[in-house]
Symmetry: C2
Subunit: 197 residues, 2 copies
DNA sequence: GTCTATAGGCAGATAGAC
DNA sequence: GTCTATCTGCCTATAGAC
């Protein structure tokens, strides 16, 4: 108990990012305003502009934090799970956890709004997908070489199918408020890659 | 040449829908305004409100027209193509045609913004997905019974994988402005359903 | 049907006091 | 760091003339 703490956890900038992140993932970047964040944190919009001068800066910070967190999760999966299929299942669970909070993947949402995003956010969205596809392609290649996975085409192609499949499954499942619908698709998707179909 | 025709095709309501449809599919429902449509058609926003009292009414009309057009396309596929795999390929081509115009599926875009949509639009979005999944499930079931397709799980589950996979592949491919990326995923996705993998 | 004019609200953003 | 106060612009929408 070194620091005197206000109601919610973290410093102001962190709390702003937390609220903004949830708003973007549930309503979209064009579906919320500084006023929404301010009201929830009981501060003024002027204070928000002190921490993040403009909405574009806030958006870039959001993607940066989200991508770093995701990247850490991939490292943990690599460290803790040996075989390829288990890694893919764990990867799918990352998405399922987001959907359970009635959110979309941050970058999936931003991909939909891509052409309206401020400069700087767009490149960050692409970098997120690039990182994910690269990680998946590596897992898929090793899995196929080890005889644990079977698929036609390149590992990169299969990686893009998985990213697209998971993003799309979230997109469609969320309006139904039905996580089972998502998990069913994941099973179908990964089942097509296992050796014993 | 019965009717005297202005510059663009169709009556005013149709032209409004055409422009609005493109704007929603490229920028999102929260990413355009009546002013955008008015400027493009060189009329005033007041005229827009004459044809569509509010943005919600416009949105509902957009989904209705889009769903009807899509449904017609499915009927054509049923009439013209006999075997299941050909139908699935044709189905994928419907999406590819949209992506080629740098758009998302109208209802895919609206699914992302789902929780910000006016009442009345949400149900229409769900109905669109329901229709598509039902059609796909029928094709998949018949294809499997005829020995043309092979997949684990239920036809409904496989149908949801296809809808999610196509929607997500579009979502991710569009920022890269790369239709080949989309087509690659479609091939991978449908390839997993054919008998000769 | 389309216009001018305008209402009323909310958006992102800034200056300057404390 | 957070506030009050304010600006400018855009948003959806309406009244009423033509």
């Amino acid at each position: 108990m070194a620091t005197t703490r206000q109601r919610p956890a973290g410093d102001t900038a962190t709390r702003i990012l937390d609220v903004a992140e949830r708003l973007v993932q549930s309503r979209g970047f064009n579906g919320f305003s500084y006023a929404d964040i301010a009201a929830e944190l009981e501060i003024t919009t002027a204070s928000l502009h002190y921490h993040f001068p403009g909405k574009g800066e806030l958006g870039r910070a959001l993607i940066g934090r989200y991508a770093a967190r995701f990247s850490d999760a991939l490292d943990v999966i690599d460290d803790e799970l040996p075989d390829a299929l288990a890694k893919l299942v764990a990867y799918g669970n990352l998405y399922a956890a987001v959907l359970r909070e009635k959110r979309l993947c941050l970058c999936g949402m931003l991909a939909a709004e891509y052409h309206t995003l401020p400069e700087g956010m767009r490149e960050a969205v692409l970098a997120f997908f690039d990182t994910n596809e690269k990680w998946l392609a590596h897992v898929l290649r090793e899995g196929r070489e080890a005889g644990a996975l079977r698929f036609g085409g390149t590992p990169e192609g299969a990686a893009r199918m998985i990213v697209g499949g998971l993003e799309g499954a979230m997109l469609v499942a969320r309006p139904y408020d039905d996580v089972a619908r998502f998990e069913e698709v994941v099973q179908q998707l990964l089942g097509g890659l296992t050796i014993n179909v």
